[in-house]
């Protein structure tokens, strides 16, 4: 019996080659998309779950509002961890972490590294790591100890036998390697290369509660409720933060709260950080739960579309198989047996599709990995459960989509079927109609979504950054140049180089230094500004746009107490005539505003541009030298600069980057997400088109006799095509009505993630509607053309 089923199944596949092709490819593409999305989603959801006690680990943060200034971030101050350990019995362990970047050297191997962290010795009690050598309990107990990863050991020592050897940090501190561990897995929010003891951190004994900027992680005892802990955590505000506010800033906490302000601590489960935390102070590049949701929805939609297609195509083909069913029934086949046969066929089909899907996945995965900027692997051997999940999904798809066809087909009355009368009822029409509307609603929704995403991408690309990112080379470690002024003059004497500037930061790497700026003495409010210090060539080199006033001038000595701010800063301070206004840094240093620069986009477009203050040179530690050169001779320029670098420094790695790459990296993830989304959306639209092809062939099949009659009565081919399109067009219009508001709702939500965003224009909706109508008309007309051109005799032959 099974053999007979298999034989019939394959003969049917072969006989209707086009049908089989559409059906299998639709399902295969659908499954492949699903598998890839599944891999992506499960990867995103796996973040930080490899830590042994991840469910008990939380990161602490501050949420505060002081006047106009609101802040929320995962940073706390030094005394937090020790206080928790001594006062909170439910806190099992606590660890402080502070990021650093330094030049690391082993003999001639010199690199500047930025994944160095000062951590408490309890670090490994919270974070799991695989030790290659060394003891987790003693690795960070003593001063000048250092834990490094395997790849750093290889980089600096050439092998992993690094224990006991030492590395020079910033040219003067020798750290002894106490342990070598495996590299951090990619699915963690916190990647590090070097760990050094927290008490070596110069300000580690600073006990001021308002000096935040450090990361505190706690491990709570099993059974501790997060909400209870959070409540208790905030007793620290009144106990410690309030007195600090009083003593340092003369602010009464109670008055402050009464004025509508607040200062709160919060905790966030570590496994939530990757997808739910979007602070600018994150330790790594976090993902977004919205993307995960979006992609999951797409995966489900794709699967549903593929299922609908399968069902439609199978029922469309049913009339061709009606005779077989009639004969089988009259020869004594039971309904159950027929249902079994059809289910068997559809599962067989879905398994073929599954096999093809796996092949597609293998080919497409490397491309996807580039597209979404993260390595995904379909390692079925290591993850046999993955394979079985997908296999299960495929069989379920086959079962699900085969069910309707199976019951529909097997319920044919043999006598009627043999006489050529197919049962067709109004129920069928209703089902078909709902399926079309459903599919079209999905497609139109995806069109709108894709257009919106595309528009946002365009918007980001076209947005004026407030500076010119092309043809700028940035040197790191520029503070190590022995005479910066002479170095600048020296390189600027080369014809290819236009200008250079020595600064603490360039756009794209602004740090969130929380300067407390103050508008003269009149305004007691404090404002958070990002700050950079730069020499007088900063504006010229980076092409910053001045809104008013002037930039620093070398010959004006008094410029050392002058500053520039950006437009956001003017707004923040509420100034109408910013020039010559005096603001203060801290309490002591009055600074006069001499100019206002246009807002600079040095961050992703998700975040609002923060107030920025440009301080005169040497107000901050300056490490960057940005060099603008004439386009075209990049390599020659690089050679010149490198040569001069070696003349002006000793044993300092020549490290540089191009400003446009830095900016591109900032937006890389956004682009990746958008591209991936568009790709999947296009694929699901493709599957929907395949489905439409199936549907219209179904409809044509169903109405073939009607077409014959109409033609006999004098209808032209055009009339027939018009008639067949009319129904579908009505359904598309309904779909547009259904999907537009939904798409509007979801896409505005998505756009709200961006502080700077494109508008959800009406043309997006019009274009999506028109496009789907166009696709439908084309598909249906192609299908109908054949039927309408057929000799009417052919369609009336069942007699």
């Amino acid at each position: 019996m099974i053999w007979n089923n298999i034989k019939i199944a394959f003969r049917n596949l072969w006989r209707d080659k086009i049908f089989s092709l559409i059906n299998i490819s639709g399902l295969a593409i659908g499954l492949a998309c699903c598998i890839i999305i599944f891999l992506f989603v499960s990867n995103e959801l796996s973040y930080d779950k490899y830590h042994k006690d991840y469910q008990q680990i939380y990161r602490l943060g501050i949420e505060a509002k002081l006047g106009d200034m609101e802040m929320k971030g995962p940073f706390t101050s030094n005394p937090m961890a020790p206080t928790l350990l001594s006062e909170f019995p439910e806190v099992e362990e606590a660890v402080r972490i502070n990021r650093s970047s330094s030049i690391i050297q082993n003999e001639d191997k010199i690199f500047s590294e930025n994944r160095i962290f000062w951590v408490d010795s309890t670090f490994f009690k919270l974070f799991s790591a695989n030790f290659i050598s060394g003891n987790p309990a003693q690795a960070l107990n003593e001063s000048k100890q250092m834990v490094i990863t395997k790849s750093m050991a290889l980089k600096f020592f050439g092998n992993i036998e690094a224990i006991g050897k030492s590395l020079k940090v910033n040219q003067n501190h020798d750290y002894t390697i106490s342990a070598v561990i495996e590299d951090c897995p990619p699915n963690t929010h916190f990647q590090f290369d070097f760990l050094i003891p927290y008490f070596d951190y110069p300000q580690s004994r600073d006990n001021f509660w308002l000096n935040d900027g450090k990361y505190t992680y706690v491990k709570l005892k099993k059974g501790t409720k997060q909400s209870d802990f959070d409540k208790k955590l905030n007793t620290l505000v009144t106990n410690y933060v309030a007195p600090a506010l009083k003593s340092a800033l003369n602010i009464n906490y109670e008055d402050m709260v009464k004025a509508g302000n607040y200062y709160r601590f919060y905790s966030r489960p570590m496994s939530d950080i990757h997808l739910h935390s979007h602070s600018t102070f994150e330790l790594g590049n976090n993902g977004d739960i919205l993307n995960v949701t979006l992609f999951t929805i797409i995966a489900i939609l794709i699967l549903v579309i593929a299922c609908i297609n399968f069902t439609n195509l199978s029922t469309a083909r049913s009339s061709k198989r009606a005779k077989e069913i009639g004969v089988r029934k009259s020869l004594g086949s039971s309904k159950t047996r027929l249902i079994f046969q059809f289910l068997f066929e559809s599962i067989l089909l879905s398994l073929i599709a599954f096999t093809i899907a796996m092949i597609i996945v293998e080919f497409v995965l490397p491309i996807t990995s580039v597209l979404i900027g993260k390595e995904l692997s379909s390692n079925y051997i290591n993850n046999p459960h993955l394979f079985f999940i997908f296999l299960g999904i495929s069989i379920a798809t086959g079962l699900l989509s085969g069910t309707y066809a199976a019951f529909f087909l097997s319920s044919f009355k043999p006598v009627k079927v043999l006489k050529g009368e197919l049962s067709k009822g109004k129920n069928n029409l209703l089902l078909r109609k709902s399926l079309v509307i459903f599919q079209f609603s999905i497609s139109i929704f995806l069109f709108i979504a894709t257009f919106t995403v595309y528009k946002q991408m365009q918007f980001i690309q076209d947005k004026k950054l407030g500076f010119e990112k092309e043809n700028v080379l940035v040197l790191k470690n520029a503070d190590k140049i022995s005479n910066i002024k002479s170095f600048k003059e020296r390189i600027q004497s080369y014809p290819g180089i236009i200008s250079s500037t020595f600064a603490s930061a360039i756009p794209g790497e602004f740090l969130n230094g929380n300067i407390i700026g103050r508008k003269a003495d009149l305004d007691p409010n404090q404002y958070s500004f990002r700050r950079i210090s730069a020499d007088e060539d900063y504006q010229k080199t980076l092409h910053l746009e001045l809104v008013e006033g002037r930039f620093f001038n070398e010959v004006i000595a008094s410029d050392s107490s002058k500053v520039l701010i950006n437009e956001a800063g003017v707004k923040e301070l509420g100034l109408t005539n910013p020039i010559e206004e005096v603001i203060a840094r801290g309490v002591t240093r009055p600074l006069t505003i001499i100019g206002v620069v246009k807002d600079i986009h040095g961050d992703t477009f998700r975040n609002k541009i923060l107030p920025l203050i440009i301080l005169p040179k040497d107000s901050e530690y300056q490490t960057r030298l940005a060099i603008r050169y004439h386009a075209g001779n990049k390599n020659a320029i690089l050679g010149i600069i490198k040569k001069e670098w070696n003349n002006y420094t000793t044993n300092i790695p020549f490290e540089y980057y191009h400003l446009n790459n830095l900016i591109h990296d900032l937006h890389k993830k956004e682009y990746a997400t958008m591209r991936t989304f568009s790709a999947f959306a296009c694929l699901s639209i493709l599957i929907a088109i395949l489905g439409l092809l199936g549907l219209s062939s179904y409809t044509t099949e169903q109405r073939i006799k009607e077409i014959g009659i109409r033609k006999t009565l004098g209808s032209s081919v055009e009339d027939i095509i018009k008639m067949m399109n009319k129904d579908f067009l009505q359904w598309i219009l309904i779909s547009i009505l259904i999907s537009s508001p939904l798409a509007y709702f979801f896409m505005s939500k998505w756009l709200e993630n961006f502080a700077y965003r494109a508008n959800l224009d009406i043309w997006i909706f019009i274009a999506s509607g028109l496009l789907s109508i166009l696709i439908a008309i084309t598909t249906i007309s192609i299908q109908t053309w054949k039927a309408a051109n057929q000799n009417p005799v052919e369609s009336l032959r069942y007699e």
Binding site: L713, S715, V793
Partner: protein, 256 residues
């Protein structure tokens, strides 16, 4: 026969041209599937005059319906020629054939071929829509013909709510609503009981008397008695052409 026809044509060209509606010359029809070639019609020569009521008879598979389809411009012959209303329509395209058919030929089928989704009124109205008549003219025409067919009380019903006889009356109404010159009926009583069958045949006779040419394919001797002339087909060939009276005299049992 051919010679006779040719001479007849030559001699009576002028008058004949006016009198004759359908001329087929050496008409052949071959159906091909991938491997099999079936010859459905073989050198069929016919002439049917205006106002004539002709019946085509023959056993199953002898090519009756194929011949009717070609006469009705639903199908093209594989070989030979076909002159309809003095125009050679042998090699006309589907589009041109549709144009000729429109309003000139009405069809009546054994299985009625009404569109299930349309009401009686809409079914009858359909050919008028394709002719491009205005809605008011269509309404008048349809109501008139429904009255004539005694079915106007069923105008708003769907085909499946009617009896077989009623359905066939609707089909006839649809066939005659355009006042065609030619009505082609393919076993019009095949799905009906005898009283309904008689009713249908009476209707066809009436139409014929009012001047419409009728060509009918039938199995039934009783039905064929309504015709002026009976053409016998066997294996795709015309085996005899008899005036009605002659048939009556001859035993026809072996043909059925």
């Amino acid at each position: 026969m051919q010679f006779y026809l040719a001479r007849q044509l030559a001699l009576e060209k002028q008058t004949y041209k006016l009198k004759i509606m359908i001329i087929t010359k050496d008409l052949c029809k071959v159906f091909r599937t991938e491997e099999v070639e079936t010859s459905a019609l073989h050198d069929v020569n016919l002439h049917i005059q205006r106002g004539e009521f002709a019946a085509i008879m023959g056993p199953s598979g002898c090519g009756k319906s194929t011949l009717l389809n070609i006469i009705g411009l639903l199908d093209n012959p594989s070989n030979g020629s076909y002159i309809f209303n003095n125009t050679d329509v042998t090699k006309k395209s589907e589009k041109q054939r549709t144009h000729f058919r429109k309003g000139n030929i009405g069809f009546i089928f054994q299985s009625f071929n009404l569109i299930d989704e349309l009401t009686v009124f809409e079914n009858v109205e359909l050919p008028l829509i394709y002719m491009g008549l205005t809605a008011s003219k269509r309404k008048a025409k349809v109501n008139e013909v429904l009255d004539r067919m005694n079915i106007s009380h069923r105008a708003k019903h769907y085909p499946q709510q009617l009896s077989g006889g009623q359905q066939q009356r609707v089909a006839i109404a649809r066939a005659v609503v355009t006042d065609p010159n030619l009505i082609l009926a393919d076993e019009p009583t095949g799905n009906l009981d005898s009283s309904n069958g008689t009713e249908v045949m009476e209707l066809l006779k009436e139409l014929n008397h009012s001047g419409t040419t009728v060509v009918m394919v039938t199995h039934s001797v009783r039905d064929s008695e309504y015709a002026d002339r009976v053409i016998h087909l066997f294996d795709g060939k015309v085996v005899s052409e008899n005036k009605h009276k002659q048939i009556k005299r001859e035993p026809i049992k072996e043909e059925l």
